[in-house]
Amino acid sequence: MSPTTPTSPILRVEQLGCERDERILFRDLAFQACAGEIWQVAGANGTGKTTLLRILAGLHGFHDGRVRWQVPGARHASAHDQILFLGHLAGLREELTAQENLRWLCALHDQPAAMIPAALSAVGLAGYDDAPVATMSAGQKRRVALARLWLPGKAVWILDEPFTAIDATGVEMIEQRLRKQAAAGTLVIYTSHHRLATDTRQIHLGGQGA
């Protein structure tokens, strides 16, 4: 299901296959994604959604087929500098504050640390800058991780279950952010059982294939 679009694809996936513990998660997966699109990876539990996202982010090297990124402005073929990957783990250390955690992630990923307070207030955590992550609820921790969606500089977002532990208003807020950013030209690939109320393309894993 590769839709025809006027722009050229920035992600081409060809004959992608992955096995885990001698079980085939998916095989012959092929799709092309362009800037400004929103892709939902759907499928039952254990069908390899997270594995697919990790392969796309370059974290999982053991697979068949090819993943080719052609992101404008990327310094390497892996396009690591243009990808924002948020895994299902938040990536935050409990001992550090929201601000300290994000500052390190920003330095690591070439994102502007000066915008962290604004990003935190955008996710509804204004005033929590110096709160240790250990004192936060699960939803608040997830919001701290998602605050990076309000920092500029990435052309591709790969989000693993971004809506976990987020309340209804939060989900609405993140949906809006995804739509707005896609409209501005970001390619968004996410896994969730929640379908966005917008024009998303879907990859179904398990059963019927891609």
Binding site: H60, D81, L89, A90, G91, E100, A107, L108, A113
Partner: protein, 222 residues
């Protein structure tokens, strides 16, 4: 802020917020060395003879014990994943991680070692060699051990595996480290042995972080 400075700052903050991780290796080091006089003999001649080996073995084990948790916490919370998807080489952030770890766990050992040497009747002029050899040796132990820690990060309770991987690589550092103190005790010159330790350290620091980064990638890829 540069990646190196930001990582160093983060790791030092983490270390200071969890002081047990700093104090445990130091405590282990002091306790092990203090138990030897009780178990063997309080006679100054025997203790003096054994001191270089005892202090060095205790320091080596203390460094190794501190390494099990080096990447595990970051792995459990997903921060390691964020490190691996970062653009650019992993060399600098890994080096910063190791520098911070050594400053928090290795440097205290170097600082307290002269006291333990004094306790085990090492002559005062030998104490200089003791701390100098540890100053060169413990960072090498940290870097070499980190390679094992990176490879075993996804193995739950990988402590024994880490020891099996790392101990053979620790042997040269131990031989030259304890050897330098032994030579000083015998009144021989030590600069050549310390130079070998320095060479091991230079090799470990220049190549070690690459090996650690590769180890982390291998561990996470599966």
């Amino acid at each position: 802020m540069s990646v190196f400075a930001a990582t160093l700052r983060r790791e030092l903050l983490l270390g200071l917020r969890t002081p047990a991780e700093i104090i445990n290796p130091l405590f282990f080091f002091v306790v092990v060395v203090s138990l030897f006089p009780l178990a063997l003999t309080p006679s100054p001649e025997t203790l003096r003879l054994l001191a270089p080996g005892v202090v060095w073995v205790a320091a080596l084990l203390a460094v190794m014990l501190s390494l099990d948790s080096l990447f595990r916490r970051d792995e459990e919370c997903g921060a390691l994943e964020q490190l691996l998807v970062a653009p650019g080489e992993l060399y600098l952030p890994v080096l910063a991680r190791l520098c911070a770890h050594w400053l928090l766990t290795g440097l205290p050992l170097v600082l307290v070692a002269p006291l333990l040497g004094y306790m085990t009747y090492l002559p005062v002029e030998v104490l200089d060699t003791l701390w100098q050899s540890l100053l060169l040796g413990t960072p090498a132990l940290t870097v070499i051990g980190a390679i094992g820690a990176a490879l075993t990060v996804s193995v739950r309770r990988g402590g024994i595996l880490l020891a099996l991987l790392v101990l053979p690589l620790y042997v040269p550092v131990l031989v030259f480290g304890a050897g330098s103190v032994g030579r000083a005790l015998d009144g021989m010159e030590v600069s050549s042995v310390l130079a070998v330790l320095g060479a091991i350290l230079a090799l470990a620091v220049s190549l070690g972080p690459f090996a650690v980064a590769l180890g982390l990638r291998i561990s996470s890829g599966d």
